[in-house]
């Protein structure tokens, strides 16, 4: 196993270079920009993703606001913004190829980018180790 990732239960990948939420979003922070997607655990639970409703660019969002919807054959899941700020970009590729979230949840399957308005919120996010614990808790249920 490489040092930059953790594999939970032999199947769920968690990357160490980013933060996580209780609701299974990941957020990668680069200066004042945050890139958001859903975790490998989330995409595996949702299974085959067939559609994504993307937020509008320019929308102001608060931490925890539902901003996108991921549709799988199984269910529709709200995606919550892990940080407050302004949506600056959305992943248009997902409109025609939503399965990118299944294929590459931490890369090409990113969903939206936010310009962070409150950097202190970062303290409320989970680091990789804490998120691994969270997955284990969810799986134990």
């Amino acid at each position: 196993m490489s040092d930059d990732k953790i594999v939970v239960d032999g199947k769920y990948i968690v990357l160490k270079d980013r933060y996580y939420t209780d609701t299974d979003e990941w957020v990668k922070i680069d200066g004042e920009m945050a890139t958001v997607g859903i975790t490998d655990y989330a995409q595996k639970k949702l299974r085959d993703i067939v559609g994504v409703e993307l937020p509008e660019v320019g929308r102001e969002v608060k931490m925890g606001d539902p901003v996108a919807v991921v549709e799988s054959v199984k269910a529709a899941a709200d995606i919550y913004s892990p940080v407050s700020g302004t949506i600056t970009e959305v992943n248009e590729d997902l409109s025609s190829s939503p399965e990118l979230i299944n294929k590459d949840p931490y890369g090409k399957g990113w969903i939206f980018k936010v310009k962070i308005s409150n950097p202190e919120e970062k303290d409320k996010l989970l680091n990789a180790d804490k998120y691994v614990e969270k997955i284990k808790e969810k799986e134990a249920k």
Partner: protein
């Protein structure tokens, strides 16, 4: 929860497992869309070992009373169906496939969810002997537009014909039939679990794609096939479902109710809905279907068809609105999704 006897070989093929009707089964391998397209243009195989499989022995008269289609006009070595066990109100106890081995020896494939219910129903309504073969054999469906090219052979079987104790890909199998549930040509095989594992390996080596139950669901929806528990149940009759599983030239439980429904008409009827191309918002089961904001029915199944590149669904609407081509809407999380009433199948 039951587990497919093929799960260890499927794990090696990277199956994602999930629960269906009390069974842990492969839901998908790569993505259901790739698997779906493989069925429609190449060839794939499904583990359907969750399907209930019963061997019924006893008089044809007794079985013919329980089954809505006429078994007397059937030929040994052929399947009859889909047909159904109906209750006295004409509602579906189950929809099944019947295999005639001889006049007093039959096989019945049931929905996984109804296996035990069917067994109880048969024994409480007849003196037929019921043997459950479900756990003795795995069942594999091999389906696809180019299935014979991939298998490099075409067995000498007519559609819905089957043979017992035969050889398939060099393996001894209990049953081989020319049947499926996909709208494509293909075979279904029943074999002992260890033989089933070897067949799976051989199919993979021949280039057939393993496909999961999500793909099976999207494939059957394109054909307009119903799934028990989703689109039909004990409160739905075959007329409402537009599911022609009965023959009126003989007696069977539920026949009077069927005749009533035919004579008087039914208030609701099953139709298909196709939604705007490229729109990927899925109306979900039980969501109301509306015409100009007036509710006229509800959704029972939906999926995104990768073949048609659009969302398709089925459901029941009031019979008086059942005109193909009518525009309808479904309110999905506050968003109005527009579609059209469409007949089955969705694909040709």
């Amino acid at each position: 929860m039951f587990k497919s006897p093929l799960s260890s070989v499927e794990e090696k093929l990277n199956a994602n497992f999930g629960e269906f009707a009390g069974w842990e089964m492969p839901m998908s391998y790569t993505s259901y869309m790739d698997e779906h397209m493989a069925v429609r243009s190449e060839a794939a195989f499904f583990d359907i070992s969750h399907m209930g499989r019963l061997r019924i022995k006893g008089s044809i008269e007794e079985l013919n009373k329980l089954i809505a289609k006429d078994l007397k006009s059937s030929q040994a070595g052929f399947m009859i169906g889909p047909t159904a066990f109906l209750n006295d109100k004409g509602g579906f106890i189950d929809d099944v496939m019947v295999y005639k081995i001889s006049d007093n020896d039959w096989l019945i494939v049931t929905n996984a969810i109804n296996r035990e219910k069917d067994m109880k129903w048969i024994t409480s309504n007849s003196s037929l002997e019921v043997q459950d073969l479900t756990f003795d054999y795995v069942m594999i469906a091999i389906q696809g537009r180019r299935v014979w090219d991939y298998l490099k052979q075409k067995p000498d079987l007519k559609p819905l014909q089957f043979v017992l104790n035969t050889s398939f890909l060099g393996e001894e199998v209990f049953l081989l039939s020319r049947s499926g549930w996909t709208g494509e040509d293909g075979l279904e095989v029943w074999a002992k679990p260890e033989i089933g594992e070897r067949i799976v390996t051989k199919l993979v080596n021949l280039g057939l794609k393993p496909a999961g139950l999500i793909c099976r669901d999207s494939i059957r929806q394109e054909m307009g096939f119903v799934l028990y528990g989703e689109d039909i149940d004990e409160k739905i009759n075959p007329i409402e479902a537009r599911y022609w599983v009965f023959s009126l030239n003989k007696d069977f439980i539920g026949k009077e109710a069927i005749i009533e429904a035919l004579k008087n008409g039914v208030n609701k009827i099953r139709v298909g809905f196709k939604f705007t191309k490229g729109d990927r918002t899925l109306p979900r089961s039980s969501m109301p279907v509306m015409i100009l904001d007036k509710p006229i029915g509800y959704i029972t199944s939906s999926t995104f068809s990768p073949y048609l590149n659009r969302v398709i669904a089925m459901g029941y609407i009031e019979t008086k609105y059942a005109y193909f081509g009518y525009s309808v809407e479904v309110n999905v999380r506050g968003k109005k999704v527009e579609g059209k009433i469409q007949d089955f199948p969705f694909i040709k």
